[in-house]
Symmetry: C2
Subunit: 504 residues, 2 copies
């Protein structure tokens, strides 16, 4: 049985705020001057002291009545189909409030395929969110057990923990036993969209032998996951038979699990990929649930040397073709991107993706800007993630310090999430998002006015900021002192700045 | 008495290599296939098991004979004066080997003022290094006690620790008691150039009252530090009286300690800065020792809101003017830069600095690309540092996780150094440096071939990489296993890639 969810943040200065009829959640921070700052909140009911959560019952069904209402009115199932008919769904209204834009703008972006709202009709527990270049940059946290280690309890707790710190979506990448049950616990308790890579479960069904896979096994797995409430699925349909030889001269071959499985299948059968060949049928299936595609980059580069090579871009061209087919079926679609890319080759990825995929949202893993720092790949990749977010990537898939080395634990998940919130927010700032700038301004005002408690509370990670400060100056009076231990009282430039203003 | 220096890295797979007559040190890594990779090494004699170091005696005087030889031959004192006369110094030969370029190229870059070799004639213990846009990007680590906490022993140990992990220079920013003695211990034991901000000590001499400062007190302090062997000094001569009012409407005023001290002095006396007025005299002094200028950005922005404002750029114009004067005196000079800058405003900083300062090396603090993550400012700043390094910044001043919160401890120093090595190396890669790419290639080859031990040894931080791996798969056989706990054996894409190559 999974553990009880994450505890709320300590201290009474935080509150859960709900805005409007749709009760859109925000995190309220009461500052010492009496004003309140409200921030985008991904943590779900877990951080509302008025809501009692129970992982055995799952979360309340926020979207149930909305979905039923659409069904009764004979409206289309998918958000993109509604948008194209000129309908503004409750989900669109909800994300409009979250993003500070009009619902009509949301509708237009979804209708154009420039943004998606991943929201399976069978995951009514989720709080709607939007992924698109004209909205706040989002982040995804991967969880899931591997065959080697970890349990269901741990994975559910990682999910609530990741959303607590700011994950906008969760991917359950479990590959061991109990895939179905792990996923059930996660979906029923997840306030954010849940993504999966169905081929992992399909492979378990054929005992781990890629060549034993078939469209039928895959389709059944997909139906199972759609029924269960998965919001988006990574599908490596761009790994075509003809692409596989392009990888043989690479330094690190194929580094995507799904990509390597599909390449193995194609080579074993000397046949075109069954995912590619059955793509239309897959679209029809996904459309029935409003499950979104995340078209996987199975041939992404796994090293700096392999960045932007022919294998990678050949697959991207196929993904562009498939995105067009998905849209024709009114299925929402985003495109996955690399990987390992040096800084000077990052922008080309975004430009090409935009052109080939007609502005479908881009969803990238990092990219890592160097290979030489295992143990610190949250940082090597945050550099690339911030840049690619600025260039227009809509969602960033986090990387934890354990990347390349082992399965992340709870601390790694937090570090990965906070690091990626930094990258996403830096991108929002560079794109000129007014909400983003206001947050920095609020924190810098608090810093300059020596309102230490406000500075901590406005931080991405108040717990760490406060504990670092208290290591050297723990006494309560230090919380209003006009200096810290970094420079000491005499050398505090900001204290001198205040004296200057009094003088000048 | 300071503690004994850092211990050598564990394991016999590392060796200290010396190249050529000048015995240029490199770090050799013996790979499991018998080949050896050699990497740039900043750690000094401490990592050579054949050298017995004793902090009470200090390091051997590597450069003593070179300096004496120049003096006997009547050659100029400063590297730039030699370069302009067409002389190739031993220091230039030494850095040429380190950088993999010709000594003549080094001479040309120094003569043009595009690069500096900070090397006080009174710090013969240092191993020469070069700072310039056409060389490997360097990093600086700040150490030094504040009035609130820490001891001399700790600071000397932080210095050896920081160079152990890759710091190319050290700045001693001590502000408490015993400034002179702390600095003496650090310089005598430092294999890398040591920088300081002399106004901190000058302020101590006048009991912490900025208005009591004078050119005479400052000059005496400068002489004391030049005599002692400081290699470069941050001088905030660009904070002119007319610039101070430009900061009053800022969100965070003046955030440079030295900048705020000089602004306070200017306002208190309603006079032009004594550093600006005595700049010629200062140049004559520095030229006698070959101490380099690091012209301080006393008006750097301390928040995203203040980036690239008139105060900052007015000071930069003055720094350009002063750089010209320094060069006329044959004094080596670099220019300090910000600070807090959102991604889209970073490039303008480099372009303007280059234009205004006639290509003098740029030396920046980060920049931090957002204000909202105290406790993680090594990361917010590494994003900006990597980008600004790519754009042409020659040296990056590290930021530790404790920035804005307290004085860094030993672990923070290591985290800051490793994070900045990542940023500098990512910049080298993006600039197309062949040595940089070779390192990534060696590590990625090891990764793809499941040579785990080689992968760890080639990492920026082998200790952390190994320990993360061993947390979940500690057994010795796992060190040659064709998978790790992240994906487990069945889902290892690289294992499947190998199978594919066998098949294909």
């Amino acid at each position: 049985m999974p553990a009880k969810g994450v505890c709320a943040m300590s201290g009474a200065r935080f509150s859960k705020i709900y805005t409007g009829d749709l009760r859109v959640p925000m995190r309220g921070i009461r500052l010492s001057d009496g004003t309140e700052v409200s921030l985008y909140d991904t943590s779900g009911p877990y951080t509302d002291p008025a809501v009692e959560t129970d992982v055995r019952r799952g979360l309340p069904h926020l979207r149930e009545a909305w979905i039923a209402g659409r069904r009764a009115a004979g409206q289309p199932v998918t958000q993109v189909a509604c948008a194209r008919k000129g309908l503004i769904t409750k989900e669109m209204e909800f994300v409009a409030v979250r993003e500070g834009v009009t619902a009509e703008f949301v509708r237009q972006e979804v209708a154009a395929g420039r943004a998606i709202i991943p929201a399976n009709v069978n995951h009514p527990e989720s709080e709607p969110m939007i992924i698109g270049r004209n909205f706040l940059v989002k982040i995804n946290a991967n969880i899931g057990n591997s065959a080697v280690t970890s349990s269901i309890e741990e994975e559910v707790e990682k999910m609530t923990w990741a959303t607590r710190w700011g994950a906008d979506t969760i991917m359950d990448l479990s590959t061991g036993d109990d895939i179905h049950e792990t996923r059930e616990w996660i979906i029923r308790n997840s306030p954010v969209p849940v993504g999966t890579v169905p081929i992992y479960q399909a492979l378990e069904k054929v005992k781990g032998r890629p060549e034993a896979l078939s469209w039928e096994v895959y389709r059944d797995t997909l139906v199972e996951q759609c029924e269960q409430g998965v919001d988006y699925v990574t599908v490596h349909a761009g790994v075509r038979l003809a692409h596989v030889p392009l990888t043989t001269r690479r330094k690190t071959g194929i580094v995507s699990r799904g990509g390597s499985i599909m390449a193995a299948w194609c080579l074993a059968h000397r046949r075109e990929s069954f995912l590619y060949e059955h793509f239309d049928e897959m679209c029809e299936l996904l459309a029935r649930y409003d499950v979104s595609y995340s078209l996987g980059d199975g041939l992404r580069p796994g090293s700096i040397a392999d960045a932007n090579d022919e294998a990678q871009f050949a697959e991207l061209r196929t993904l562009g073709e498939l995105a067009g087919i998905a849209r024709a079926h009114d299925v929402q679609v985003m495109i996955e991107g690399p990987g390992h890319v040096p800084m000077h080759k990052i922008k080309e990825n975004v430009d090409l993706q935009r052109e080939l995929c007609d502005d479908a949202p881009f969803y990238t893993l990092g990219p890592l800007v160097t290979d030489i720092a295992p143990g610190y790949d949250h940082i090597t990749s945050a550099i690339g993630a911030a840049m690619i977010g600025w260039y227009g990537t809509a969602m960033l898939c986090y990387v934890t310090p354990k990347e390349h080395l082992g399965l992340p634990d709870r601390n790694d998940v937090k570090t990965g999430v906070i690091t990626y919130k930094i990258a996403a927010h830096a991108a929002d700032l560079a794109k000129g998002h007014p909400q983003a700038q206001a947050w920095d301004d609020a924190l810098s005002d608090a810093r300059f006015e020596f309102r230490w408690e406000d500075q901590f509370d406005l931080s991405l990670d108040p717990v760490t900021a406060r504990s670092y400060h208290d290591e050297t100056l723990p006494a309560e009076p230090a919380k209003s002192a006009h200096f810290c231990s970094m420079c000491g009282p005499k050398f505090c430039s900001m204290r001198i700045s205040h004296d200057l203003r009094a003088l000048g």
